[in-house]
């Protein structure tokens, strides 16, 4: 027969369970990132094309109006695009991370059932959750970085702001992605669910999160959307840290605590759900 048996050492010699038990989440992330690389050209094209088109239409078009209307001082005393940048980055972060927790999760449970085959190895359900999140965060950072590149080229962002805005917007991506993961695990098939999320969650979150104008200028009955929205928290914190918008320290702490809290709730909900579904 083939050489399979002649070189056979047996898993007791070959496999050290301590390795997957320690690094399993990263093995899952590696697997997901390999999957992502199959679409790298699309990720780059959309990652760059989207901000270019957006900035040309909204940013520069509306920006010119706003800057003119405010007598050239823009909002918060900075050009409109600079004001807009943290919100755009938070949205890009959320979109990128969401893409990597939603469809891969349905694929893993339903379309290819890869989560079941992964769980048949030493990898635990919890490591699968963590691995999906690590991969989602990698995608999130890529998406944000591409957006930042375009913002820098449009002169909307000084290079010095890049590190802090990357961290702040990725935090929003993390919080939202973890919540989405805990919801997606309950879904049997797409059935347009993500289109609904896009229209009724993502869009209002983007519209009413102090994206185009400060949240405080919204009527109070709409402001709550901003308070629970990771977009607003990342946007407001990003504005404070990138160009020094006036945000009190306690509120900055809230801006960190909300996405971290959302992330914790999302993960702690997702862990048992994954375990339940994989062991059914």
């Amino acid at each position: 027969m083939g050489s399979v048996q002649t070189t056979w050492q047996g898993s007791k010699v070959l496999v050290n369970p301590a390795k997957p038990m320690r690094w399993g989440a990263f093995y899952v992330a590696e697997f997901r990132i390999r999957g992502m690389l199959k679409w790298w050209d699309a990720i780059i094209a959309f990652g760059l094309g989207n901000p270019v088109l957006y900035l040309l239409s909204i940013g520069i078009g509306i920006g010119a109006l706003v800057d003119k209307g405010t007598g050239g001082t823009g909002l918060d005393g900075v050009p409109y695009l600079t004001f807009l940048a943290p919100a755009l980055l938070a949205t890009a972060a959320i979109q990128g991370a969401m893409d990597e927790v939603t469809f891969p999760t349905i694929e893993g449970f339903e379309w290819n059932k890869t989560f079941y085959s992964i769980n048949a190895t030493a990898i635990t359900s919890r490591q699968i959750v963590d691995g999906i999140m690590w991969a989602a965060m990698a995608r999130c950072v890529i998406q944000v970085s591409l957006y930042e590149l375009i913002l820098v080229l449009f002169g909307a962002l000084p290079i010095s702001s890049i590190p802090v805005l990357t961290v702040v917007s990725s935090l929003a991506g993390f919080g939202f992605a973890a919540v989405m993961l805990s919801v997606t695990v309950l879904i049997k098939d797409d059935d347009g669910f993500f289109a609904i999320v896009g229209r009724f969650v993502l869009t209002p979150m983007f519209m009413f999160s102090g994206t185009y104008f400060p949240l405080a200028t919204l009527p109070i009955y709409l402001q709550w959307i901003g308070w629970i929205s990771p977009v607003w928290h990342a946007t407001d914190l990003g504005r404070a840290l990138s160009y020094g918008a006036d945000v009190p320290l306690w509120l900055m702490l809230v801006h960190v605590a909300v996405p971290v809290g959302l992330g914790a709730v999302g993960l702690l909900t997702a862990y048992p759900q994954f375990k339940k579904r994989l062991s059914a």
Binding site: S11, V15, R34, K113, Y116, A122, S279
Partner: protein
């Protein structure tokens, strides 16, 4: 007593790979596996035989240490899967009933990516992938998309994937269900080679011929319980006759005519489409039937199979 003697006597006891005592799995009020006992020794090829819904796959999931038992004891590789799931799974190869290959990956990528989950190194895996492709007779499909493979090829790839960590136990849930006869024979040949080389196999099937081909020992399951246990030959000897005569008189007449041939052979089994006559000499039983002036539409004399054992034990056929 010299030390070496003590050592020899330990070695003479075959290592128990799986021990189940009163193993039970409930889903709410439904009892899928109802207190079963069995043991699997190293190098053995062990079968779980039964119709759909007998509890075979549920038992497999508990052995695979992904589904927790509701009651009883279970030890795999001398560990409790409730406490040591990942450690046990590191040494298992699992071939699920439904191929769960990654359709976006190429054939070789599926093998390599899977090896990574065991923490195996990329360079080592490159060689292993080549070996496994050769074993699965898929060398020419190395760079194909998984979706482009035939059913039999996908099954062989899933089996190859289950071998990537050189498992102590290879578990196969319905390995040839849905395959054409040629694909089944290729697959049996591959599995037989593994068995010859001492890999412990646990196989579920509802195909009798498969169980007879591959299993050293098997349990017959029905409705979550074990009905009988033994080697295929021993089970046939215990629960059936040497030969079986199958006669068909047309589905309208079988029941009526059965009354007339009562007493021929050791036992009769009346199925909707045919009558089975259990006897040590099928030809003579047929002569006796013809002597009564009865004229079956078709007749067949064959050796007893596990199908007959199952029919005897449960009163039902395996594949409905």
């Amino acid at each position: 007593m010299p030390k070496s003697d003590a050592h020899t006597s330990t070695d003479a006891t075959p290592e128990l790979m799986i021990v189940a005592k009163g193993l039970t799995k409930k889903y709410g009020d439904f009892v899928a596996v109802d207190g079963i006992d069995f043991e699997v020794k190293r190098g053995e090829s062990f079968g779980l035989l039964g119709p759909n819904g007998a509890g075979k796959s549920t038992t497999m999931k508990m052995i695979a240490s992904t589904s927790q038992r509701s009651g009883g004891e279970l030890r795999i590789l001398d560990k409790d899967p409730n406490q040591h799931g990942p450690e046990i799974r590191a040494h298992l190869g699992v071939v699920p009933q439904q191929d769960n290959l990654d359709r976006e990956m190429k054939v070789w990528e599926n093998l390599k990516a899977y090896g990574r989950f065991f923490g195996l190194k990329g360079a080592w895996l490159d060689n292993k992938v080549t070996e496994l492709l050769e074993f699965a007779q898929l060398e020419e499909k190395r760079n194909s998309k998984t979706d482009d493979l035939s059913g039999g090829m996908k099954r062989r790839l899933t089996i190859a994937r289950g071998l990537v960590n050189e498992p102590e136990i290879l578990m196969l849930d319905e390995p040839t269900t849905g395959l054409d006869p040629q694909a089944r024979h290729i697959l049996w040949d591959r599995l037989f080679r593994l068995k010859e080389n001492g890999v412990t196999l646990v196989i579920t099937t509802h195909y009798m011929d498969e169980a007879e081909q591959l299993c050293d020992r098997l349990v017959v399951m029905d409705k979550g319980k074990i009905m009988a246990e033994g080697s295929p030959a021993a089970l046939i000897k215990e629960y059936s006759s040497k030969e079986v005569l199958e006669v068909r008189f047309g589905s309208e007449n079988n029941k009526e005519i059965a009354k007339q041939i009562e007493g021929i052979g050791e036992r009769l089994e009346i199925l909707p489409d045919r009558i089975l006559v259990y006897t040590d000499n099928g030809e003579r039983a047929l002569e006796n039937i013809l002597a009564k002036g009865l004229h079956p539409v078709t007749t067949l004399v064959r050796r007893s199979s596990l199908e007959d054992v199952f029919l005897r034990l449960t009163g039902r056929t395996l594949v409905d």
